[in-house]
Amino acid sequence: MKKDKNKKSPSYAKWGYIFVASFFVVYLLFTFIPQVLTIYDSFFDYSDIVGTLENIVNFCGFKNYKMLFSVNMRGDIELLRCLGNTIIIWVIGAIPQMLFGLLLALIFTSTKLRLKGQGFFKTVFYMPNLIMAAAFASLILALFGTIGPFHTLFVENGWIAQTFDFISDKTWARILIAFMNFLMWFGNTTILLMAGIQGIDDSVFESAKIDGASSSHVLWDITLPLLKPISVYVLVTSMIGGLQMFDVAQVLTGKAKNNSTRTIVMLINDYLVNGNYGHAGAVSVILFIITAALSIFVFKSINRKGDEK
């Protein structure tokens, strides 16, 4: 059949190449070459020429990578500190994100409850996902900053001292960023998990009903186990996104130079702005390796799901 078609229309193959050409040319120029340059940069020493007019750099092997893993003047290991911050903030946000997502998905898909106004609630829950992260962070900064209404409220009630600043405090700043991430992403998680629940074959629930299974039984022994693959997918893609956290943390705490909320991408950004392409490149490569490992994990778990079917 396929061969037959080829014989019938041999001259059309060139159109295939023409149609896909733009994608590959643009990818080569604006993504692939920059990527190669990033990796190349990570093996060159830019630290001596930062701030000078010089532009000759020397090959330095793994020096940039070693530097990232060595103890700095502040007494911590820069890369691990930022990686740690990113992961901690992601975890604080991801736990309620998954819990709320799961609970809401179960409520929305329940055939027993049949709640009214679902469309309204879904619209409201998904809205924060589309709001400009920089604007949202700026709003929280204005509300929780030292002249913001929440600061006034907390001081008046004696919960914090007048000099206290939410934005430069380690715990509060992390919680605020995590809360924003949670608020922006739980709606998305809800929708994906709902699709997962709706994707479960109805006959499974029906036969459970006939067998006289209680609803809590159905939940723990049927729905949740069958939701595991999609939950893993949601969780890991959320983690990949979380590792690239930038906008919210930068706008909320970038100025305050809070060392407990500096994320990996903020580190790359800081090196880039200073023109230290060597260090920026090395951090990017490490971020790439971590993300690739996580992606392969997701890919494999999805494929395994396919095999079982």
Binding site: F30, A135, L192
Partner: protein
């Protein structure tokens, strides 16, 4: 005797039933309370934003938390476009954001559809490999390219050029993936064949027959890529340093660098409010359509 037992069974059954109904009502009420709680949580901060756009700067500096609207909305709006212009040039920001977001959304949709059609409709050597390649590069984080991209842009003095933020969106792996799945589900290959017989050339077939069929997919992706680009801070903040060229998120990020104590906070809130307003308006009209698009884009097969 027997009757007594029968009655007891019936009352037991009624009790059981009543219990189940009570349980159900409680569960339903709890669900509604939970939904309302989450909805309030979602809206609360944006409501506060709206409230604060109607307040005077004096009331905002160290002011108390209040939930009632005041009457300075027009004043703040006017000040934003006059006095506040040096800190936040809203008109220029809107222009930059709109050109970049609309330009990238248009290019990304057209060329992703074109690439997807190229791989779907034609048989040529290496097309399987190309598809696998595009799938694989989907997983590479954008930051890997950003260092080299920034370096090249600085070297060739291309910073502050909008097209540099628009053009790369032609190669968008995830949108390509969405488009090719849509094509596989909706476009019969016979249709291409018959349009050829009608004498249409290949580009005409794509523009006049395939694009109209793909309208729903293109619409969804237009919205998502427009919003993504409208909200994006990372690359624009690296590339756009000229105040005449900055997008809204870059301007908002720059606002935090001025001291908040000496700034008209009414205008700050107004700037934030106007930056998110276009997306919210679009969303309120198309929310059902957008929410449907979320699942379609994320779960394959």
């Amino acid at each position: 005797m027997n009757k007594a037992i029968g009655n007891k069974v019936i009352t037991d059954f009624k009790k059981e039933n009543r219990k189940a109904i009570t349980k159900f009502v409680i569960l339903k009420t709890l669900s509604y309370i939970f939904l309302c709680f989450v909805a309030v949580m979602c809206i609360f901060f944006f409501y506060l934003l709206l409230v604060n756009t109607t307040k005077d700067n004096n009331a905002l500096q160290g002011g108390k938390l209040s939930l009632t609207l005041s009457e300075f909305f027009n004043q703040n709006l006017r000040n934003l476009f006059t006095k506040f212009k040096t800190d936040f040039d809203a008109l220029k920001g809107f222009r930059a954001s709109f050109v970049i977001a609309f330009g990238s959304a248009l290019l990304t949709c057209y060329f992703s559809a074109l690439t997807a059609y190229g791989i779907y409709a034609y048989d040529f050597k290496g097309k399987k490999l190309m598809e696998v390649f595009i799938l694989a590069i989907m997983m590479i984080p954008t930051q890997l390219a950003s260092v080299g991209f920034f370096q090249l842009a600085s070297q060739y003095s291309l910073k502050n050029r909008w097209w540099l933020l628009i053009l790369p969106s032609i190669a968008a792996p995830s949108i390509f993936f969405y488009m090719i799945q849509y094509l596989r589900a909706t476009l019969p290959k016979d249709l291409i064949e018959s349009s050829r017989i009608d004498g249409s050339n290949e580009f005409m077939t794509f523009n006049r027959i395939v694009i109209p069929i793909m309208k729903p997919a293109i619409a969804v992706q237009m919205i998502f890529s427009f919003v993504g680009s409208w909200n994006n801070l990372y690359m624009p903040s690296l590339l756009l340093s000229d105040t005449n060229k900055k997008t809204l998120p870059v301007m908002i990020n720059a606002l935090q660098h001025t001291s908040w104590g000496n700034i008209d906070l009414g205008c700050v809130y107004m700037a934030i409010f106007l930056s998110i307003l276009p997306v919210i308006i679009v969303y309120l009209f198309l929310s059902k359509f957008i929410i449907k698009g979320v699942t379609a884009g994320s779960i394959k097969g």
